[in-house]
């Protein structure tokens, strides 16, 4: 698999902060893989995600897309990414259909193309019966589905999902896992930020574990389990985090 995105020595320090939220992080995201960012709260996974999503700039280092800095061609880069932030950032007063319609408009799709794409994404996400319902009348699971549907409206090559299943019922989580797998099968590259290690293990081709802003492990879940002689990713994670997560004696 060829590299789609590469982070080169990326660091991030927020304004007024005394230390870096992300320190000298380098990794590649290959085309058509599911790449997960894992870590405890404050590890730097959401900051790394937000820099890949161009929500925040890097402080130092760079992010390459097909070998060129994303900042040299920011608007073209944004055309290939589909962003599904942790907060859905949908217009609650509008219906599902209108939210999807305007997402298509923002990316320059014609009305005809939008109509067709709405049919496709609503089918993919099981939203067909909900198109005329306002966002604030939907349950959390359907809001999340709508948020993912919106991020898919312009058929992105790279889908960025920040905690897409947080707070959802187990059966809805399973449905979303299936959807993420289907998207991968359709050729979409996916960056996933999650707290759920079972989710990361089930879905990811590779995982990147961050701690205190730095990478402490990056590999396939199977390889990590073998290296640490553990049965699941959660045990690997707990071992790696034994210092960070230790309770005071």
């Amino acid at each position: 698999m060829s590299s789609l995105i590469a982070l080169k020595n990326v660091s991030k320090r927020y304004k007024g902060a005394s230390k870096d939220a992300v320190r000298d992080v380098s990794f590649e995201i290959k085309s058509n893989e599911i790449f997960s960012l894992l870590g405890v709260n404050g590890a730097g996974k959401s900051t790394t995600f937000s820099m890949i999503a161009t929500q925040h700039p890097v402080t130092s280092g760079t992010i390459l897309w097909d070998g060129v800095s994303i900042y040299d061609n920011l608007l073209e880069y944004r055309k290939i990414i589909g962003l599904c932030p942790q907060k859905p950032s949908l217009d609650k007063k509008l219906t599902v259909e209108k939210n999807l319609y305007f997402a298509g408009k923002f990316f320059g799709l014609s009305d005809e193309a939008i109509k067709l794409r709405i049919e496709q994404v609503s089918y993919m996400l099981g939203l067909q019966g909900y198109m005329n319902i306002k966002i604030d009348e939907l349950s959390g699971g359907y809001v999340q589905r709508c948020s993912i549907a919106r991020s898919l409206m312009h058929s992105p090559k790279l889908l960025l999902l920040d905690e897409p299943t947080v707070g959802l019922d187990p059966h809805i989580r399973r449905q979303l896992w299936q959807l993420i797998e289907n998207l991968k099968r359709d050729g979409v590259t996916i960056v996933l930020v999650t707290h759920y290690l079972d989710e990361a293990e089930f879905l990811s081709d590779r995982v990147c574990i961050l701690d205190k802003g730095a990478i402490i492990a990056i590999d396939k879940p199977e390889n990590l389990k073998n290296s640490f002689a553990k049965n699941n990713l959660e045990d690997v994670f707990l071992e790696l985090m034994s210092d960070t997560c230790a309770l005071p004696k």
Partner: protein, 260 residues
């Protein structure tokens, strides 16, 4: 190609904002009708018994047309801050395939169109309420529309600028007393620049640093003529205030929200 893309996103963002604002339009219009009717009835009719001049009603209506946008400031700023601290649609728009300038311009143009529509709809209400005091034939239409458009552009920009300074909902309570009320009250809503200069010159010079003064004076000059600041001068100064606030808002928001 880049310009075409920016214009396409600008158009879509404006369409989105106007579509989204449709649900509050009737309520906002009713609020404005209550305010305009009450002000004109008191200032144009009741206050004559207390010695106010016969043409004070039309004078006040000029002020109303000029500053009606300032009363949209509070909801505009509140909505912006609630969004930024909550759902963050603003952040989503800032990550679209356009520059930050386009996102800000779309906000300003959509808000301006919205407030102008309300201003234009209260124009006939003013005529009905003031009747013989309000002579349509005295109106200079081109400068009047020019001032109304530019004043509302300024108020939308002012909403962005104030939100960029206020920073959080915690401090929203201070905005009314520290920003909106002084700008409105000392911006010539109830008195003209020329008459103030006659009685208190120092105060009149202070009025000149308040953009609302140019909105009220510019509308009155176009509406009834007479001893007010020239409408075209007012348009120029309002544009100047708007440009400064626009670029400063972008600078502040980019820093505050740490945007690319």
């Amino acid at each position: 190609m880049i310009l075409k893309n920016e214009l396409s996103v600008l158009k879509s963002l404006i369409q989105y904002r106007l579509f989204s604002a449709k649900s509050t339009f009737i309520d906002d219009l009713i609020d404005k009708i209550i305010w305009v009717s009450g002000t004109i009835l008191v200032m144009g009719y009741l206050m004559k018994s207390f010695g106010l001049k016969d043409d004070y009603g039309i004078f006040m209506f000029g002020g109303i047309l000029g500053v009606s946008g300032i009363f949209e400031l509070w909801p505009m700023i509140t909505k912006l801050l609630v969004d930024i601290e909550g759902d963050n649609l603003f952040g989503y728009h800032a990550s679209l395939t356009c520059s930050l300038y386009t996102v800000f311009l779309a906000y300003i143009f959509a808000q301006t169109f919205y407030t102008i529509l309300i201003s234009v709809l209260i124009l006939p209400l003013g005529k009905v309420l003031l009747w013989n005091q309000f002579l349509i034939t005295n109106i200079s239409w081109v400068p009047l529309l020019g001032v109304i458009i530019v004043a509302n552009l300024l108020f939308a920009t002012l909403a962005l600028w104030t939100a960029s300074i206020v920073g959080s909902m915690e401090k929203i309570g201070n905005v009314w007393m520290r920003v909106i009320w002084p700008m409105w009250f000392f911006g010539g809503f109830q008195f003209s620049y020329a008459s103030t200069k006659g009685v208190w010159p120092m105060f009149s010079y202070l009025m000149l640093i308040n953009p609302v003064t140019y909105a009220t004076e510019g509308v009155r000059s176009a509406l009834v003529g007479g001893n007010f600041l020239n409408s075209w001068l007012c348009i120029g100064v309002l544009l100047l205030f708007g440009f400064v606030m626009f670029f400063d808002s972008i600078r502040r928001f980019r820093s505050k929200l740490d945007l690319v």
